[in-house]
């Protein structure tokens, strides 16, 4: 089952900051859900193919034809953190 270290690791992979207390809470709740998920182990599925898409569609393409872009102003309209036409963020770290 999930340990505290697991919660910290997936917290990092998912980039969600989690404090000490939350780590314990998540661990408990996630474990109870995972226990429920564990019932799938009852089903034998070695010879079953996974279903990625319910409909069997292949070869969906578009032609190489130019379409209108957004203006720079529109692109940046949803943030106040911008400079010289670009999005601005702190150093990567």
């Amino acid at each position: 089952m999930i340990t505290k270290e697991d919660v910290e690791h997936i917290g990092w992979l998912a980039r969600i900051e989690i404090n000490e207390q939350e780590t314990v809470e998540y661990m408990e709740k996630l474990n109870s859900v995972l226990e429920y998920f564990g019932q799938l182990d009852e089903l034998p599925t070695e010879d079953v193919a996974p279903t990625y898409h319910v409909a069997e569609i292949y070869n969906v393409f578009r032609e190489d034809v130019v379409e209108e872009c957004l203006s720079q102003e529109t692109v940046l309209a949803n943030t106040e953190h911008k400079q010289d036409g670009a999005f601005r963020v702190p150093k990567i770290g």
Partner: protein, 475 residues
Amino acid sequence: MAKWMSVAQVKENIRESSAEEVTARYLEVIGKSKINGYVTVSDKALEQAKKIDVEGHEGPLAGVPIAIKDNISVVGLPNSCGSKILEGYVPPFNAHVIEKLLAAGAVVLGKTNMDEFAMGSSTETSHYGPTANPWDLERVPGGSSGGSAAVVAAGEAPFALGSDTGGSVRCPAAFCGVVGLKPTYGAVSRYGVVAYANSLEQVGPLANNVEDIAVLMDVIAGYDRRDSTSIDSKTEYQKALVDDVKGLKIGVPQEFFGEGIHPGVEKAVWDAIHKFESLGATWQEVSMPNIKYALASYYIIAMSEASSNLARFDGTRYGFRESAENWHAMVSKTRAEGFGTEVKRRILLGTYALSAGYHDKYYLKALKVRTLVKQDFDKALSAVDLLMAPTMPNPAFRIGEKIEDPLTLYLSDVNTCPINLAGVPSVSVPCGFTEGLPVGLQIMGKPFDEPTVLRAAYTFEQNTDYHTKRPPEVA
């Protein structure tokens, strides 16, 4: 004007008075709302209606107001998905379904409340507070399209759009006593709908009667080249509405009448099935042995896809941003503060299910179980035309009752989520009441057989009067 109008009645009122007056009337009702169904009421609605009066419009929905779930992009209106992390985000493009609605002349009244990022069955996880069920203001309207169902039930919009990933249109339809359809996967374009689980979800209409569902489908359904999963089905929905179910074969899967089912719900649904019998249909029990595993499979797949779909919400280009020394910290703090607890739980679980060492045990396994569930549907539907079952195992519960334990809440999706795994169409229609609360009958069909599904729903409606009942709390 009557408080609750069908689309036909709305159109008649538009002819007799004007689009502007009809929209103004709805805005007035919304202004007095007790249910917190809308996150944003559009300040452009009146102007849009006026324009239609002045310039005229030939479209089938000219001047007809509609409410849109807040995860479907509308230019110029904030798109919150019920979340703090999308604070201030206004999409610069319309969803495909919105383009179709606007071309038909519809007027967008506003964006409706929902569980955050569609993750929930009660609309309680919204950053904007819960929506109340018009039938009992202390109870949930269902979710995640709770706002859309509630405003339709409360007469605050003639009809609405929601989205259904594991039951999110059908559940609130059942709890609020309205009609809600989840179309066949691929029938309606997902372009512009904020993704929760791409391989499971569809946009679905909500209305007070079956005809309005069909009217809406005739406008929004159909092939969209911008959605690679879109299928070119040329179904004509209104044409299917005939009051006749003679000879129709109904399958009743015992697995949908599990242990926890509320006796009032069970009775109402069986009464409905017997009603169909009296109208000339026949029914038989069918077995779908893998259905009990559907819930786990659904949640693993949905959470896995969601963990990836929600990675774009990092405060860099739009929405809420927490400040920090470096970008990775900024992202981690933004997501910790901007997402609610349930969303974070599901992202963590989805990340775990896809992670190295667990991918095969959870994600791949869930996809294989999905195959078995789909096979159950294929097999059952080869023997009958339709399947019928309760939409929800119980009527609307109290606000706050189930929200503490995620697993309890997940279990309420037990009858709706298998349908999303199989991709088949399913509608919930009001079929009675228990303890004063609506009960929904779920009618499921073969892929792209919405015509039979809607015909059955329509026939039931024409021969009962549940759809005429209105919630006394908001009358």
